[in-house]
Amino acid sequence: MRFLAKRLAGLVAVLLVASFLVYGLLYLVPGGPMAFLLGNRSGTPEQIAAIRAQYHLDDPFLVRYAAWLRDAVTGDFGTSLVYRQDVSALMASRATTTVFLVVYATLLIVTGGVAMGLLAGLRGGRADGVVTLVSSAFLATPPFVVGVILVIVFALGLGWFPVFGAGSGFGDRVHHLTLPAVTLSLASAAFLARVTRASVAEESGREHVETARSRGLAEGHIVRRHVLRNAAIPVVTVAGLNVAGLIAGSVVVESIFALDGLGSLFVRAILQRDFAIVQAVVLVLVTAFVLINLVVDLCYSALDPRLSRQ
């Protein structure tokens, strides 16, 4: 319990610092917040007055930050200057695509990566060589290159999958998001396969496993009870960190496949200097990263109770 409380306090501290930085960035922009909020448009005096009132630009910095944070905590991120809509509503309508994509990719990574790693680690020999070679190639290829190659081969060449869009309805979505999810998952799956392979190979040589073998326990039992349980700790870490990476990676993947997710909203907001959206998306991303890290830590202590007692 104390472990959890300590972690939660750390989480809140990180989020506070992150939100302060995200909000403070607005004031680092050449020309100050006004230049940023207006972007490339020149506003009429009424518009400028409206923006000053909306963003409370006449209040001191800390007061404004506190007001913004209070709204942000309740899910109110203000209004987009480009779309003239509520930022939360804009994000909510796009979050489905991104979440679907990240969950799909996570499933591919965990099943594919762990399966490849187990194959290489437990079988060894030629399977090991093939897995190592394939994972090196996948690790070196940037996601956007993988995505473009997949589009050229499977969408434009063979015509098996659509080139654009996220689809509607579950089956159609799976069909539309298969190439994006594969794109997003290849490098992480390759990395997870390596980690799984290394940790399974290490655990298989440990003394307690040798003891179990010499006592004549069934191989399947040894692998499940003694090898996998210990090997799971590094695997969970890497899988968790990779999911955090996937959220960032989805920004690039959504751009390749023209998906209307949070990532493409973010990129467009940067280009259009729509700062309310930039602030909101960054804050949501950072929150997601810290939450995932927390879940990974909790998984550790479930797998290895010694850790939570330290």
Binding site: T141, P142, I149, I152, A248, V251
Partner: protein
Amino acid sequence: MTRRLGGPGVAAAVLLAAIVAITLLAPLLAPYNPDLPDLFNALGGATAAHPLGGDALGRDVLSRLMYGARTTLLAPVLVICVASAAGTTLAIVAAWAGGKVDAVVSRLLDVLFSVPGIVFALVTVAVLGPGVPGVVIGLAVAYTPYVARVVRSAALRERGLPYVAAAWVQGRSATAICLRHLLPNLRPIIVAQSVSALGFAVIDVAAVSFLGLGVQPPTADWGLMVKSGLDSAMRGQPLEALSAGLLIALVVAAVNLLGDRLGRQS
């Protein structure tokens, strides 16, 4: 050096040296002006005159690839130089001071490390506007913990060795010990870690350019060429996207291999 890198390591180093040489000599080697449109070559396939065809404006893809290595490689190298310098300084200060300083620096590095690099780049680009400077600053911050965490633990180990205590007893100042003794001994680890970070930096810089937020057209850049090549591919000509994409993958694979070899020795 050759024996330490092994066959594949030498091959990777030679490949990278060749790419750097070609891009430096691009004005002499490139068959065409990389920015010159030629309507007869627009979306053209491979011919004797244009071995890799033309892009949507008919610019020669081979010539653009030769020039394009400049931004594609220079920006990540810049990122890693800044990140290594900052990371090494933080690491040595933290390891030397210990106690509260070390705890604060370590926590800060952990937090930075938990946010993916590309997010930093996107945030700095949002503030400074699209372009290479924003990308380099953001990624330099992002890669600082990557170098600092490894160097810090090595510096802690080194600090506990008797020669450091001996120098301290002889009245050498902390700065002198760190610069004259610690830094040279840590160099192999710093180099290995920086080279393996370089592979990721190449990917991140190219990705930001691919998003349209890094290198700006009409500059020839591999990341941008994958982007414009994707549009060409939709119109039936995949050569530009494939050649630029494979080159990026090749460079990253070579850098990763080199980093791996250097890491094994240190």
